[in-house]
């Protein structure tokens, strides 16, 4: 090596050497490649323990690191009304065991300089070789004896709730969450959305039982990779997991034959292949003030990893937008048009349900043009074969990626694991390069026709609706946009959706009249001159008291306190100004906030929709928690709207649903349920008011209702 170190001196004194070399280099064309290097796949060792757990070991001594992956194989789990609990499993796995608290485990892992992280289907750990035996102690302990402490569950849930809240600020996360729910449907495990309400239903016991039920050796894989010999690995696997039996979980069966686990409920896995939308639809999530639109074109695909066309599908996606700079989407939308920093597509094969997604983030002005270009590229690749040049580039790139991937020994382990999980032919990866080489342009087009559906897909846009809606409506095949909130709920559904028609001739006014009659009749209601209701509630674990004051014709005040601390006070004296006082200071209410107070100001607003210039429409009859209810849609003057549900049998109001535009962007759906109506002064008032949605979900219990007892006018003062 010494001669090389002297090299510069030699060169410096004999400038003829570089001069000579100049003559030899032809800069005008790319140098020819040398003979292609051979790509060695590298081997692995695999065997099964007596308890059914399969062990895969890949030896590679390049760096002194060893990793262990524990993976349990089972179909995706439908979480139902507890959606989101799966996201807690991973964190809780490493949050305490029979032997160690979370703090102790954290300390042990960090002291080894190690990584130990859980997920809903396993664990991953890695460390220096010298610390690996100690790390395996922890892997074993966590895998077999995690105890999901209740306090750690609550902490993790609170953090996840915060993240669910924060998720609605991030356009990329919104696009991911809503994109999945629109691809697979919310009734498919891949399309479920965790919300504040669903996380509220998750329990420590359910998560713990999930872990006990699914973390079983018979469906387990242990993958050891790195600076470890096969013998060492095998000895370790046998020492730790050889005798592991798994938890003994008692199950019963429900009518559909699902296992039912105590605290977890019926275990429903898998899901029906989602349908294509039939006709391309444009879904929109409003995020006012967005600097860009996030665009995603999505649809489900029937494509399993062992599909004979899986490799052709990959070549197809590489040419369309799968990671290469020369892909059509990137070249068109970035390099030709300058619309975006990057445009990509993915066509994922999956045992349970495959999916396509293509998209980019673009400035507001070109949102509709960008959508048109993305759809155009998807159409184009179906209608004409790709060029020989494109095919060669994609194939070479994929072959290169394959070779590059082998630099990491975990790739070899992943190949082995995939072969088992996806039921692939044994030589699937060994024959990869040969099979890749054989892919033709015709096959790529066949794959495009089979897998891509530009005319039956969902175009999702997250952005500033005001700036981009018009253009998008023009290119939407239906001429309109479907509005969704950040959780993938349709915020302005087709009014007739899910409703059966109301009796002929019946109007919204009839429903409102029936309500007034039900609570005591016009006469009794008319006698109410003032009203005070005291509620108790709990806000994020803190006890609070809320009092509402009404004085006819339309004075209103509301006060919320925690102990003696004032949380919020709203006052309105019937004029054109309302004020709000909170810990953030005092301010005048304007726009939608003011309108809401004007509406609340009426003791019985249902009598005043006409005065407020609201337009009420009877949509039909719907099922609401087992009762039949009339759904009335009310459009308010500033362009807002809400829905009310009145019990067909009793006439009482059961629910009010409103989508509030949030200042930070997006919608917040506020659902208020009324129940436990009891009389006071000849009129029925709901004693329980339950408000869900958003960070302020709470249940109000009316502890005192006072009618015509007199109210000091000072509470309504706006000065």
């Amino acid at each position: 090596m010494k001669s090389l170190l002297l090299h510069p001196l030699v060169l410096a004194s004999t400038f003829l050497i570089p001069a000579m070399t100049i003559a030899q280099v032809d800069r005008t064309k790319a140098p020819a490649p040398g003979p292609a290097p051979e790509v060695h796949l590298g081997g692995h060792k695999s065997f099964t323990l007596d308890n059914g757990m399969r062990v895969i070991i890949v030896e590679n001594h390049k760096i002194p690191i060893v990793s262990a992956q524990l993976r349990f194989d089972f179909p995706p789990v439908l979480q139902g009304d507890k959606a989101g609990y799966l996201e807690l499993v991973g964190e809780l796995l490493t949050s305490g065991t029979a032997r160690h608290t979370k703090a102790e485990l954290d300390e042990l892992v960090d002291s080894l300089g190690a990584r130990l992280s859980g997920s809903s289907d396993g664990l991953y750990a890695s460390s220096l070789k010298k610390n690996f035996p100690a790390l395996m102690d922890l892997v074993y302990e966590v895998a077999t004896a995690a105890n999901f402490p209740a306090d750690e569950f609550e902490k993790a849930r609170t953090r996840l709730l915060s993240q669910v809240q924060a998720r609605t600020d991030d356009p990329d996360q919104i696009a991911d969450v809503v994109g999945h729910s629109l691809t697979y449907g919310k009734d498919h495990p891949y399309g479920e959305v965790s919300t504040e309400a669903s996380l509220g239903k998750a329990s420590r016991d359910a998560v713990y039982q999930y872990y006990r039920y699914f973390f079983q050796p018979k469906q387990g894989y242990l993958v050891l990779v790195g600076d470890i010999t096969a013998q060492e690995g095998e000895a370790m696997a046998r020492k730790y997991f050889g005798l592991w039996k798994g938890a003994d979980v008692a199950v019963t069966k429900d009518a559909e034959g699902h296992d039912v686990v105590k605290d977890l409920g019926p275990v429903i896995t898998g899901g029906k292949q989602p349908k294509l939308p039939g006709k391309t639809r444009v879904a929109f999530v409003d995020r006012p003030g967005s600097a860009q639109s996030v665009i995603k074109v999505v649809f489900p695909v029937q494509l399993k990893p062992n599909d004979p066309m899986a490799l052709q599908a990959q070549v197809l996606n590489t040419i369309l937008g799968g990671g290469v700079f020369n892909a059509r989407l990137m070249q068109n939308l970035r390099e030709d048009k300058g619309y975006t920093y990057g445009a990509y597509s993915s066509l994922d094969a999956d045992r349970w349900c495959g999916a396509f997604s293509a998209g980019c983030s673009v400035r507001n002005e070109v949102t509709d043009s960008a959508v048109a270009e993305v759809l155009g590229e998807i159409r184009r690749i179906r209608t004409a074969p790709v060029t020989a040049d494109e095919l060669a580039l994609a194939k070479n790139y994929m072959a290169g990626s394959f070779a590059r991937g082998l630099e990491d020994p975990r790739t070899v382990a992943r190949f082995a694991l995939n072969t088992y999980l996806n039921d692939l032919p044994e030589d699937h990866y060994a024959s990869y390069l040969k099979r890749l080489d054989a892919v033709t342009a015709e096959q790529v087009q066949q794959a495009a026709v089979r897998f891509l559906h530009p005319d039956s897909c969902t175009v999702l846009v997250v952005g500033d609706k005001q700036s981009v809606a018009k253009g998008l409506e023009r290119i939407s095949p239906t001429g309109r946009l479907q509005d969704y909130d950040a959780n993938g709920d349709n915020v302005r559904p087709d009014p007739s959706e899910g409703a059966t028609p109301a009796p002929a001739g019946m109007t919204a006014q009839d429903v409102l009249d029936a309500y007034i009659k039900a609570i005591g009749g016009k006469q009794a209601v008319g006698k109410v001159r003032d009203l005070r209701i005291d509620y108790t509630t709990s806000i994020q674990g803190m006890d609070a008291a809320l009092t509402e004051y009404h004085k006819e014709p339309n004075k209103y005040a509301m006060e919320m306190k925690a102990g003696s601390m004032l949380l919020q006070r709203i006052a309105y004296d019937g004029g054109d100004k309302a004020t709000m006082k909170s810990m953030m200071g005092e301010k005048d209410l304007v726009d939608a906030d003011l309108d809401e107070v004007l509406q609340s100001a009426y003791t019985f607003p249902e009598l005043h929709y006409a005065d407020l210039q609201y337009a009420a429409t009877l949509i039909g009859v719907v099922d609401l928690n087992g009762a039949k209810a009339y759904r009335v849609n009310v459009k308010t003057l500033p362009g807002g709207q809400f829905d009310e549900y009145y019990d067909v049998k009793t006439g009482l109001k059961l629910r009010r649903k409103e989508n509030k535009t949030q200042e930070g962007g997006g919608f917040l759906q506020v659902v208020t349920d009324f129940s436990d109506y009891q009389p006071e002064g000849g009129v029925l008032f709901p004693r329980q008011v339950k408000q869900g949605g958003g960070p302020m979900a709470m249940t109000l219990k009316a502890v005192a209702v006072a009618v015509n007892k007199g109210i000091d006018g000072a509470v309504f003062s706006v000065e």
Binding site: L11, Q24, P31, P37, S127, Q292, E335, E407, D408, G664
Partner: protein, 429 residues
């Protein structure tokens, strides 16, 4: 036993050779035949701190333009050559340097050399290229900074933490300066900074050093040496008091950012500061994570990291409040941990934990040839020599509890920081 471990560690050192070409180009070669691939990297010692204050973002914009082609490579062909050969390519820019790289099958090494030498010798960009990349960079800015919650943190911190030094603007720059840039600016910038005497070429992977030296000499040797490269010598005066401000963003959870001015990369104090940041936020048992996030439940996320800048940089602590937690209560919780490192010596056991973390990280750093290539280039350019890829770890391991306390008292002081509260827009009155 100890002897064996040391011997093992030594065999895993990164072996390399290095030399200068007569034109000043520094060359580093690392052979590793375990996978038939090779990484080609060129690091130019130019970043956003070399920009004029009315051309902010220029170095990064220029990085985009240098993929446009050369006298011998047509517009858009650069990436095509690489991908058609089965390789990947990319580049990135920081305040201090611009790095370009390809990872290719090992039989395509010459292609990488040709491409990078074309880029250094006579890169070319036409009007369509300039106009398109101007739009692309604007979209990059919108996507990464403007349309992301908390995305403006770095620019907001930098403009309050620096007033003289060009670190006061982010690498991505500002739209108005990118709009103002002319073709003459590009020519000047290229001539000044994209010269062999301002660059290091690293080849790492399945190569034969002798053959590679011959080949690279062929391609890079003829490139003329440039003039001495001008260096921006602005020294930012020390902070004289805490800077405190509020930023309103499209967010729901408030966040607290504390940015402390720290010494430059490669100085002894830098390593102690970096260790201190790990003590605070590396791993679940680290002090901020364990206390602020876990025990006190003030945050959903908390982290602390140092910006490794060539001139004195920043250590930034960042926390997003848990639901219902006010920013001042979150900040108080963070401050308690900073006060603790100033007031109490870090126990030896806790320091030992940091050292094994560093050792593990060091081993992981050498897993891929692309990473090794970058680390060699970085060590040569900023740490005083390529051999720092093997020896820099000693500077971490030499840090003592007294060092940690000393740097905590010197740098992690309220009067040496910028504090920003990120609050939801609807709290702006």
């Amino acid at each position: 036993m100890m002897a064996t471990i040391t011997a093992t560690a030594q065999t895993r050192e990164i072996q390399f050779t290095e030399f200068d070409l007569p034109n000043g180009l520094h060359v580093i070669l690392h052979e590793d035949h375990s996978t038939p691939i090779v990484a080609v990297g060129v690091m130019y010692h130019v970043g956003s701190k070399d920009e004029a204050n009315d051309r902010r973002g220029f170095a990064h914009f220029f990085e985009h333009l240098l993929f446009e082609g050369s006298d011998n490579i047509g517009r858009g062909e650069f990436a095509k050559y690489v991908e058609k050969a089965g390789g990947v390519l990319n580049a990135n820019t920081t305040g201090d340097r611009t790095y370009y790289y390809e990872v290719l099958p090992s039989n395509q090494l010459d292609l990488g050399l040709w491409l990078e030498s074309e880029r250094m010798l006579h890169a070319k960009v036409d009007t369509k290229g300039i106009e398109t990349q101007r739009e692309v960079v604007k979209e990059e800015r919108r996507q990464r900074y403007e349309n992301q919650p908390y995305g403006s943190i770095l620019p907001e911190v930098l403009r309050r933490a620096y007033h003289k030094h060009p670190y006061q603007w982010p690498t991505i720059g500002y739209m108005e300066d990118l709009n103002a840039a002319t073709e003459k600016d590009y020519r000047e910038f290229y001539k000044t900074f994209y010269v062999p005497n301002n660059a290091v070429l690293v080849l790492a992977g399945d190569l034969d050093s002798k053959k590679a030296t011959a080949a690279l000499t062929k391609y890079f040797g003829p490139i003329a040496k440039g003039k001495a490269v001008p260096r921006n010598k602005v020294v930012e005066p020390p902070m004289t008091g805490e800077v405190r401000d509020t930023v309103y963003d499209k967010i729901q959870l408030p966040a607290v950012v504390q940015a402390y001015r720290i010494p430059a990369l490669g100085t002894p104090d830098f390593y102690a500061v970096d260790m201190l940041n790990r003590l605070l936020s590396n791993g679940n048992s680290s002090r901020l994570v364990k206390n602020v996030k876990d025990a006190e439940q003030k945050a959903v996320f908390v982290g602390s990291f140092s910006l490794p800048f060539e001139d004195p940089g920043l250590a930034i602590a960042f926390a997003v409040a848990n639901m219902g937690v006010a920013p001042d209560s979150l900040e108080a919780s963070m401050d308690r941990q900073f006060a603790r490192v100033r007031e109490e010596l870090v126990p030896e056991g806790e320091l030992a934990k940091l050292k094994v973390q560093i050792e593990t990280e060091h081993a992981n750093d050498n897993g891929r040839v692309s990473g090794i290539a970058h680390n060699l280039a970085n060590a040569y350019t900023f740490l005083g020599g390529a051999d720092k890829v093997n020896t820099e770890i000693e500077q971490y391991l030499a840090v003592t509890p007294a060092d940690l306390q000393r740097v905590a008292r010197k740098y992690f002081m309220p009067e040496n920081r910028v504090v920003l509260y990120y609050l939801p827009l609807n709290q702006k009155n």
